[in-house]
Structure formats: C-alpha cells, structure tokens
Amino acid sequence: MVFPITDIKDEEIYLIMASACDIRNENIELIKGLLAKDYSVLVITTNQPYDILKKNYEKRGIATEKIFFIDTVTKYAIGHDHEPVNNCRFVNNPADMTSIGIAVTESLSGFKEKKVSLLFDSVNSMLIYISSQNITKFIHFITNKLRLMNFSGIFLAVEKGLDPDVLTQLTTFVDVVIDIDKIPRKDS
C-alpha cells in the first residue's frame, strides 16, 4: 500500500507510518509523487546510502536533478570520505546531530525554488544511533525550520515498535499522521 501523493498539501508536515518491508518502496513512491508535483526534494537518509538510493531511483526512472541528499551512513560505514558529489552532503555518522542540523539548515537555505519538500528516511533507523529524546528534539528542530521557510516535510517511520509516548510527541510536531496499512485499498 502506498500513500497517494496527490493528497499531500503544500507547507504541511506528515508522519507516514509503514511496515518495515514497505519503507523502501514508500520512499521511492513518495519521491516520484513529489517530483511529479514539481517539488524539489531534500532527502535525509539514515538507512539507505546515497549510492544505493540514487541507483534505486534511477532504476525506477526517477531523475535525480531536483533531489538533494544528506547521507548520514556512507562515511560511517566505509570509514573514509566518499568522493565529492554535487547533490549530496555526507555527514560523519548518524549520531552527529550537530553536523546533520547544519547540513539541513544549509541545504534548505540553498534551494532557490519555492516548492521544497523534505523526506526523512527513517525515524526508526536513526533510533539505532540516538535516544528517542534526542530524535524528538531533532524532529522538532527540523519541523520548526520547515515551518519558518514554508516548506513541506515527510517523516517516514516503521509503524510497529515505536514507543507510544514517543509517537505521541512526534504527532504533536506534524500536521497529519498517516498509517499506510490503514489506507483503504483501491480495487485495480
């Protein structure tokens, strides 16, 4: 099941819940939909590295010119710098909140376009590296930034396993919470 991107409104912030096996597909479909709606997209990835995401997008016919990436995992996994890439910033590691915060601020400021959306993939994989308290603070920081700049944002999270208290806090930062599994399936 994929969230119908046509339902996404400008300047709104979403928390999309999906099962673990749907997250990758959900990421691709959301990107496709956002580009189709003429958004420029900032992808913060804490799970799939830039190289793999780029390949996956291209394999599905998605042009990556209007996508900018903040990759928090590649440098950490390979242990050295990735060769420079125009549309990606590689952060030292997923726990380095300061560097990620700076990268987000600079990247969002760098967009010349009016229609910008941020896709954060994913809350759950970031929980490997930082506490729920810090992730809550971080998401609050990003949502504030998006609202100040009138941008939209989508946070992907694995549905099951998130502490209900953390989920409650996250829902207060977003405008809409969508549980992919609860969207009625359309007969094809």
């Binding site: 673990a20 096996c21 997250i23 990758r24 799970n47 590295p49 190289d51 793999i52 390949k55 394999k59 995992v73 590649t74 950490y76 996994a77 390979i78 994913s122 759950n124 994989s125 929980l127 490997i128 590296y129 506490s131 729920s132 694995v158 099951k160 396993g161 998130l162 502490d163 208290d165 953390v166």
Partner: protein
C-alpha cells in the same frame, strides 16, 4: 447460768469481730491490690502515652484537651496549653492534596469516628514552622469520665512516603529505560533484518553489484555494532538497578 450465757455471748461477739476484722483485712488487701494494679495500668498507659513516638492527643467535640510530648515535637510547639487551643484544621494546610478544605474534611473524619468508633486515614498536617508533612491518622472513640472522647494518633510518614516516591521514581526511570532500550533494539533489528532481505533479494535477482552489496552489508555491520552497544547499555541499567548481581555475571553482562 447467767454468767455462762454472758460468757458465751462475749465469745460469739469476739468471734464476729475477728471475722469482720479478717474480712476487712481481706478487703483492704483486695483494694490495695486493685489500687496497685490500677496504678500499674496508669503507669503503663502513662508511659505509652508519654513515651510514644507517635503524636497522641485527646479531643472531644469542643477540641483538644490533652496531648503527649511527641505531639508537641511533631507539630513544633512548646507547651500543651499552646496545643490544646488549636482546632485539628489549624495544624493542617488550608486544603488537602485532593482539594478538600481541611476544616470540613477534619469535621467529617471526627464525625465518622464518633459514629463508628474509629476512623483511619492519611492526612497532610502542618508544623508550626509552616512545613507540611504526610501523616497516618487513627481516631478511636471511647468513654472516659462519663464523656465520649476521641484519641487521635498521628504518625509522621514523611520518610515512608519519601522512600515510596524514590522507589516509584526509580521504577519509572527503569521502565522508561527498558522502553527506550526495547525501541532501540527491537526496531533496529527489524530494520537490519529488512535491509538484509533486500540485499539477498538483489543478489538472487542479479540486481546488485559487489560494491553496492559490500556498502549495504557494511552499513548493517555498523548497525549491529551499535545495537550490541545498546544491549550493553541496557544490561548496565539492569545491573545498576538490581545491584545483587555477581561480579562474574556483571562482567559478562556489561563488557
């Protein structure tokens, strides 16, 4: 004959006097013993009253009329006279934690004790320096010198409440840590599992190059390293919380 009769009467009278004297002696002895027992009881109850660590006070519908030294100590007062002038609500904050007026609630408890013979409840009292403290109160009604009287026993439970609160907070902190740990173990393992499934699928479908696979697997190794560190953090919290863990187990759990 007359002399004999007189002598007989005298003997009888002497025997009667002796019996009465004996009876009086017995009675005196009984009264003496009873008085002694009474004195002992008074001394015993006096010692309990005077020596109790609990505040014990006596009151009627008109207010307090006696109290023990602990009452003065607990409420921070100097003299009994000072204390007996006060209404129970005057040694309490204006309202209890449930929002009820202390004056009204004290009246209700006193009424209940008079009706049923006793009342036991928890209460917030106030010392003369303004400090509030939690107390357990037992009111017992009894007849004394022809009057219906209440004995109020007030036990300062500040220490107990502090310990209970500390324990509850410790358990809350522990539960919060367990929840956090579960979230940082269960979900991440699911993330790693799913990522590995993707790698395997890509291999099986011939869609993955060695370089891509290697990167994907390196990330999963890093994820697993971090999950192992998270497990050790959880174990440390468990060990610190329970304390009673052997050194060998502690080493195994936390290294």
């Amino acid at each position: 004959m007359d002399n004999d009769a007189t002598a007989e009467k005298v003997r009888n009278l002497e025997a009667l006097v002796a019996s009465i004297t004996e009876l009086l002696d017995v009675q005196e002895k009984v009264v003496g013993e009873q008085s002694e027992r009474l004195r002992e009881n008074e001394a015993r109850f006096g010692a309990i009253f005077e020596g109790s660590n609990d505040a014990i006070m006596l009151l009627t519908g008109k207010g307090f009329f006696d109290c023990n030294p602990s009452t003065l100590k607990i409420f921070g007062l100097q003299t009994k006279e000072e204390f007996v002038k006060l209404h129970p609500a005057e040694v309490s904050p204006p309202t209890q934690p449930d929002g009820h007026s202390s004056l009204q609630a004290a009246g209700e408890h006193i009424q209940a004790a008079y009706l049923t013979g006793y009342d036991r409840f928890e209460w917030f009292h106030r010392r003369s320096n303004g400090e509030d403290f939690p107390a357990e109160v037992l009111l017992s009604a009894f007849d004394w010198n022809g009057k219906r009287v209440l004995q109020a026993t007030v036990r300062d439970i500040s220490e107990r409440v502090r310990s209970e609160t500390a324990l509850r907070e410790s358990n809350d902190r522990f539960l919060a840590f367990i929840k956090e740990a579960a979230m940082r173990l269960k979900n991440p393992l699911e993330v790693v599992e799913e990522n590995l499934v993707i790698v395997v699928n890509d291999i099986e479908h011939g869609e993955s190059e060695p370089k891509t696979m290697s990167l994907q697997l390196r990330i999963q190794i890093k994820n697993l390293e971090q999950i192992r560190k998270n497990i050790i953090e959880l174990n440390k919290a468990i060990v610190n919380h329970y304390g009673k863990v052997s050194d060998a187990s502690k080493k195994f759990l936390t290294e």
